[in-house]
């Protein structure tokens, strides 16, 4: 019924394509930060570190005493002192590979792995103070929580970005639909004169805009997925990032964007059309 020409075709296709492209990145960000938050939370929640700071001649004694104490502490699954090589590896990013660890007064680190019940940090600190005065317990709480919180907020930001993209798409499609309705005022008048109800007239526009949004979003998603797949891999970027991309079944998620764009276009166009038709009456 409606002539298939006009700038609204290009506007709708471009808008839905561009927004779908951006939505792929927002989705990738959201999923990646979600994975990051989960990883930090799970990896750091079950471990803690005991730092022994003592004169060189007492270091081994205090280390052995601390390990014995930890082995008898309820909630501790295992405790072991890091080797010189492991400590050197930890310091290597800052001091280089040739650091003479044995000649430096650096503390000895003991890695504690908790069991599922966990230990009582306050009780352990009290016992350590009495039996191993040079020991400092770090249960990672201080820096684990802000990191997990930050990752969680990044995930939320990704979700907000997707909502904003959906809202922007709806706004642009509403404008395009209103322009199409105005440009086709004569078509609408003729349809009314032959007995068309508002819902019928609206459906002629809704169908067209929904299909345009669906096809535009599909091309946008394909372009977005290709762009994400070309991002540097995790190994190249470094161990800190989990990779701003999709993993495994996560590659399916972007392909839910075109149907969602179609739903947004359907709702936006139908609402705009019915509102405009009521005003035109």
């Amino acid at each position: 019924m409606v002539p298939p020409t006009g700038f609204t075709v290009r506007l709708t296709l471009f808008t839905s394509g561009a927004m779908a492209f951006l939505a792929v990145f927002a989705l990738a960000l959201s999923l990646a930060t979600g994975r990051l938050a989960d990883r930090w939370a799970s990896e750091l929640a079950q471990t803690s570190t005991l730092r022994i700071m003592a004169p060189a001649e007492q270091m081994d004694g205090q280390t052995q005493a601390a390990i014995r104490l930890l082995e008898t502490t309820p909630g501790v699954a295992s405790a072991r002192a890091l080797t010189d090589a492991e400590q050197q590896a930890l310091l290597e990013p800052w001091f280089g590979p040739d650091l003479p660890v044995e000649d430096l007064p650096i503390p000895r680190l003991i890695e504690i792995v908790e069991d599922s019940t966990g230990y009582d940090p306050a009780g352990l600190r009290a016992r350590l103070q009495a039996e191993v005065p040079g020991a400092v317990l770090d249960d990672h709480t201080r820096w684990r929580e802000p990191l997990v919180q930050a990752a969680g907020r990044l995930r939320a930001l990704g979700m907000v970005a997707m909502l904003l993209i959906a809202a922007s798409t709806a706004a642009m499609i509403t404008l395009a639909a209103q322009a199409a309705l105005a440009a086709n005022a004569q078509v609408i008048r003729v349809m009314r004169l032959v007995g068309a109800q508002d819902s019928y007239i609206a459906s002629a526009f809704v169908r067209r805009f929904t299909l345009r949004a669906l096809s535009g979003a599909f091309f946008g998603v394909v372009a977005g997925v290709v762009a994400v797949s070309l991002l540097p891999s995790t190994d190249v970027a470094g161990g800190f990032l989990t990779g701003l991309g999709f993993q495994g079944m996560g590659w399916i998620w972007p392909f839910f964007i075109p149907p969602l764009a179609a739903v947004v276009a359907f709702v936006a166009t139908r609402s705009a059309a019915l509102r405009t038709l009521r005003k035109q009456a």
């Binding site: 019924m1 003729v190 032959v194 007995g195 508002d198």
Partner: protein, 224 residues
């Protein structure tokens, strides 16, 4: 079916006409005449619910048009076939698609296959079915408009200057089509300033002639 009771219509303060009463009963045939600007087209628009009266009541199939919802008005229009002066086609659609438009909006496209060939033949437009409206002559456009007006088998047919842009021979042909429809029981209301057409009609059908003049509707005399 369509009844106007002491209807008035005003454009921005100026009264076009008032105290208009008219009843389009089944099988009736009315001509509406009057000078240009008297309000013939406006009166027709009131009859098919395209305008609302500023005073009085317009009843469409028993319902006051002012109290009807937009959907109810649309449904009422499906029972009224209108031939507009300027035909009101969708110029991007072929003639055949324009003619079946009322069936399409009513969700009765299955009837198009059965009715369209006969209808095109009746109005003599079989060969022009695939053409676009701008490619038709004035007479062909009027006949296509008449075909569209009757494809839903409406109860009432309203024609606004249907012979305004066509020659006498074609006018006669259109008149014959309208008379045929009237004999099938349809109420027909034709607005025209063509007195020869009215005289020709009186030899074929018992028509009531109304004149809109001086803001009132009068019954025309035997001079016509």
């Amino acid at each position: 079916m369509i009844a106007l009771d002491k209807v008035a219509y005003s454009y921005g303060g100026g009264e076009l006409f008032s105290e208009i009463s008219l009843n389009l009963a089944p099988g009736s045939f009315h001509f509406l005449t009057g000078p240009s600007g008297a309000g013939k087209t406006t009166l027709l628009k009131l009859c098919y619910g395209d305008l609302s009266a500023t005073a009085g009541h317009v009843r469409l199939f028993g319902q006051d048009s002012r109290a009807m919802s937009r959907d109810e008005l649309a449904l009422a229009r499906r029972r009224i076939g209108v031939v507009h002066q300027d035909c009101q086609f969708l110029d991007h659609l072929p003639v055949a698609d324009n003619i079946v438009l009322p069936l399409s909006v009513a969700g009765r496209m299955d009837e198009a296959t059965a009715n369209l060939p006969d209808l095109l033949s009746w109005v003599g437009l079989t060969a022009q079915a695939g053409q676009l409206p701008p490619e038709l002559s004035g007479g062909e456009r009027q006949r296509a408009a008449l075909a569209r007006a009757v494809i839903m088998s409406p109860d009432v047919i309203i024609a606004d200057e249907p012979t305004g842009n066509i020659d006498w021979e074609m006018s006669q042909r259109l008149l014959t089509l309208l008379v045929e429809l009237n004999r099938m029981g349809k109420a027909v209301l034709v607005a025209t300033h063509d007195l020869n057409l009215i005289r020709a009609a009186k030899t074929q059908v018992s028509a009531r002639i109304l004149r809109l003049k001086g803001r009132r509707l009068q019954t025309a005399g035997v001079d016509l």
